[in-house]
C-alpha cells in the first residue's frame, strides 16, 4: 500500500498539476468569496436562511463561511474526477500494468485512494487559506467586522469547516471509486453518477420528501450544510458513513476478485 501511495503521488507531483491546482484554488476562492459576500443579507431578511448573512460573516466562523458554502457545491465535481481517474486506469490498461508489478490488489487500491485523498486534502487546505485571504480582503467592502475571525474560536471554526469538507470529499470520492470499479467505463460511470446524484435524487425528492433522509447525494448535501430541517447532522453523518463503508467494501471485493481483462 505504501509503495502504491508513493507511486500515485509521483503522478501528481508535477509542475502542470501544481499550476492547475493553484489556479483552480484561486478561482474557487475568488468566486466563492465574491458570491457569498455579495449575496449576504441581513439576518431575518427573506432568503437569509439559505445562505450567509452579514451577521454570520462577522462571527468567528465568518472567515471560512465562503469556503464552507463553496465546497458544498463541488461534490459532483469530486465524483466526476474520481470516476475519471479510477475508470481511466481500466480503460487505459494501466491497472493491468500496475497489477503485474504489484499483485496485492486491495493494497494497491487503498494506496491509490489514500494518495488521491491526501492530494485532495492539500488542495482543500490551499483553497481554504486562499478563501480566508479573499474574505479578509472582501470584508471591509461590505462593512463586515473581522475582529473575531482570527481568535481561538475562529481557528476552531476553520478546522471544523475543513474537517467537514474533507469528510464530504472523501465520501464523494469513495462513491466515485466504487462506481468506476463496478462499471469500468468512464462515460457509463459518469452518466450513472451524474444522473443519479443530480436529476434523479432531486426529482425524486420533489415527489417523495423522505428521499432527503435516505439518498446518499442528498445526505451529503445535508452534511455539507451542517444539517437541514429534514436531516440532522448526526443522521447524515451516520448514513453517509454506512454508504461509504458499504461502497468501499463492495468495491474492494470486486476489485480483488475480478479478472483484469482490459
Amino acid at each position: 500500500m505504501i509503495s502504491m501511495f508513493k507511486a500515485e503521488l509521483l503522478k501528481l507531483r508535477r509542475r502542470r498539476v501544481a499550476v492547475a491546482v493553484i489556479a483552480a484554488a484561486l478561482a474557487f476562492a475568488a468566486v466563492a468569496t465574491i458570491a457569498v459576500f455579495l449575496s449576504a443579507t441581513q439576518a431575518g431578511a427573506p432568503g437569509s436562511q439559505r445562505g450567509a448573512t452579514v451577521e454570520s460573516l462577522g462571527e468567528a466562523g465568518g472567515a471560512t463561511e465562503a469556503f464552507s458554502i463553496g465546497v458544498s457545491f463541488v461534490g459532483i465535481l469530486v465524483l466526476v474526477l474520481f470516476i475519471a481517474n479510477i475508470a481511466g486506469e481500466f480503460s487505459q490498461g494501466t491497472f493491468r500494468t500496475l497489477l503485474m508489478r504489484q499483485p496485492r490488489r486491495i493494497g494497491l487500491l487503498a494506496g491509490k485512494m489514500l494518495a488521491l485523498l491526501t492530494f485532495a486534502a492539500v488542495v482543500l487546505a490551499l483553497a481554504e487559506i486562499l478563501t480566508v485571504a479573499a474574505s479578509a480582503a472582501m470584508a471591509p467592502t461590505q462593512d463586515i467586522p473581522t475582529g473575531s475571525w482570527f481568535g481561538v474560536d475562529g481557528l476552531g471554526a476553520a478546522a471544523g469547516d475543513y474537517a467537514s469538507a474533507l469528510v464530504g470529499v472523501a465520501a464523494w470520492a469513495t462513491l466515485g471509486m466504487a462506481l468506476a470499479i463496478f462499471v469500468r467505463s468512464i462515460p457509463v460511470a459518469l452518466g450513472i453518477g451524474i444522473v443519479w446524484s443530480g436529476p434523479f435524487e432531486h426529482l425524486t425528492q420533489d415527489a417523495w420528501t423522505a428521499a432527503s433522509q435516505w439518498f446518499p447525494g442528498l445526505l451529503l448535501e445535508a452534511l455539507a450544510a451542517g444539517g437541514t430541517a429534514d436531516v440532522s447532522t448526526t443522521r447524515a453523518l451516520t448514513l453517509v458513513g454506512l454508504y461509504v463503508a458499504a461502497a468501499a467494501i463492495a468495491s474492494a471485493i470486486v476489485f480483488a476478485r475480478r479478472d483484469i481483462t482490459a
Binding site: L10, Q92, L99, P103
Partner: protein, 325 residues
C-alpha cells in the same frame, strides 16, 4: 530431450534427466468464460534460460494464458508453477517477472521516464535503473517527452523497458512485434535476442511466425486454447517437415536414380528435374550420405544434394489445418 505423445495426439518434448528447472510449468490450465473455453487443459513446460515462442492464431488463448501467469486473470482449473512458485500465489514470483501484455499501457500525460518511475515505485524497484533501461530500448533522447507524443513503436519499446524493471528472471512479452514497421520489427527482434542473454527466460507470443523462427529456441503452439506442440523449435521444423532434394547432373538419369534410391530403401517423390526424399526424423546428414552413395554406385553424378527445411510458417499452417499434430 525425449519426446512423448500426450493424450489427444499432442506431441510433447520433455527434458531428459537431469531435468533443467522449468521457468514455467503449467498442468491442465483452463480458463472458461461461461460456455466458451479460452484455454483448455493446457500443460506446458518452459525450460529456464530459453527464448520460448508462444504461437497461435488470434483467439488461440495466448494472451489469456499469459494473463493467468501474471495473476491478472484467475484460472478456472489447473495449476502450475512460475519460477518454482505456485501459480495461485503471484505475489511470490511477480517481483522476478517482467511483462508486456495486450499492448503497452501508460499514462499519456506523463513522460516516459516518469511512467517508468511510477511502475518502479509501485513495485519497490530502484528508479536509478531507468536511464539505463531507456538507453537499452533506444529511448534515452525521448525519455523526458510525454508518452502522448510517442509513436506505437516507441510505446512498445517503453513497454519492454517497463518489463525489464527489476532485472526479471522471466520476461513475458505478448505480441511485441505486432504493429511495428519493418525497421521496428528488425529492431525488436534484435532487442529480444539481447534480452535473452544470461539466465533470463523469455516467453514471447506472436502470430508473425517468421519472426519467432529467428529468435526462439523453444516453441509452444496452441490453437483453440489447446496445445498442439511444445519442444525445441528446430525439432518442429525438422520433424517430417524437412526433405532432401536430389538432382542428377543429367535430367535423363532421374528415373534410374529413383530406382537406385528405392533399392537402397529410400522412397522419393519426383519433381521436374529432381527428387525429394522426406527426412522423417532420420539424421539428415546420414540420409544425404546414403543417397550420395547410392547415386555413386550407379555412376550418377549429383548436381544438387541439399536439405530443404520447411519454414516454421509452413509447419504451423500444416498444424493449424489439422495435419501432423
Amino acid at each position: 530431450m525425449n519426446t512423448a505423445t500426450a493424450p489427444g495426439g499432442v506431441r510433447m518434448t520433455r527434458p531428459t534427466a537431469p531435468d533443467p528447472p522449468s521457468a514455467v510449468c503449467l498442468r491442465g490450465l483452463t480458463k472458461s468464460y461461461g460456455d466458451r473455453v479460452a484455454v483448455d487443459s493446457l500443460t506446458i513446460d518452459v525450460p529456464a534460460g530459453v527464448v520460448a515462442g508462444f504461437v497461435g492464431p488470434n483467439g488461440a488463448g495466448k494472451t489469456t494464458t499469459m494473463a493467468m501467469l501474471l495473476g491478472v486473470v484467475t484460472p478456472t482449473a489447473g495449476d502450475g508453477t512460475v519460477l518454482g512458485e505456485p501459480l495461485d500465489d503471484p505475489e511470490s514470483y511477480l517481483g522476478r517477472v517482467g511483462a508486456l501484455i495486450e499492448g503497452p499501457a501508460f499514462y499519456p500525460a506523463l513522460t516516459g521516464a516518469r511512467n517508468l518511475a511510477v511502475l518502479a515505485t509501485a513495485a519497490g524497484h530502484d528508479p536509478a535503473q531507468i536511464p539505463g533501461l531507456l538507453e537499452l530500448v533506444g529511448l534515452q533522447a525521448r525519455g523526458d517527452d510525454r508518452v502522448r507524443g510517442y509513436s506505437f513503436g516507441m510505446k512498445q519499446r517503453l513497454g519492454i523497458a517497463a518489463a525489464l524493471l527489476g532485472d526479471p528472471r522471466l520476461l513475458i512479452l505478448d505480441e511485441p512485434i505486432n504493429g511495428l514497421d519493418p525497421a521496428g520489427v528488425h529492431e525488436m527482434r534484435g532487442l529480444i535476442g539481447r534480452l535473452a542473454s544470461g539466465e533470463r527466460t523469455v516467453l514471447v507470443s506472436s502470430h508473425v511466425l517468421t519472426e519467432l523462427e529467428q529468435v526462439c529456441d523453444w516453441l509452444i503452439v496452441i490453437d483453440g486454447g489447446r496445445l498442439l506442440f511444445q519442444g525445441p523449435a528446430a525439432e518442429l521444423m525438422d520433424r517430417s517437415g524437412s526433405r532432401l532434394v536430389v538432382a542428377p547432373e543429367h535430367p535423363g538419369d532421374l528415373d534410374r536414380l529413383r530406382g537406385l534410391l528405392f533399392a537402397a530403401g529410400h522412397d522419393s517423390q519426383p519433381g521436374e528435374d529432381h527428387l525429394q526424399i522426406a527426412v522423417d526424423g532420420a539424421d539428415p546428414r546420414g540420409l544425404a550420405a546414403a543417397v550420395n552413395r547410392a547415386a555413386s554406385s550407379g555412376g550418377i553424378v549429383l548436381a544438387e544434394l541439399r536439405i530443404a527445411r520447411t519454414s516454421l510458417e509452413d509447419r504451423y499452417l500444416t498444424m493449424m489445418n489439422g495435419g501432423d499434430r
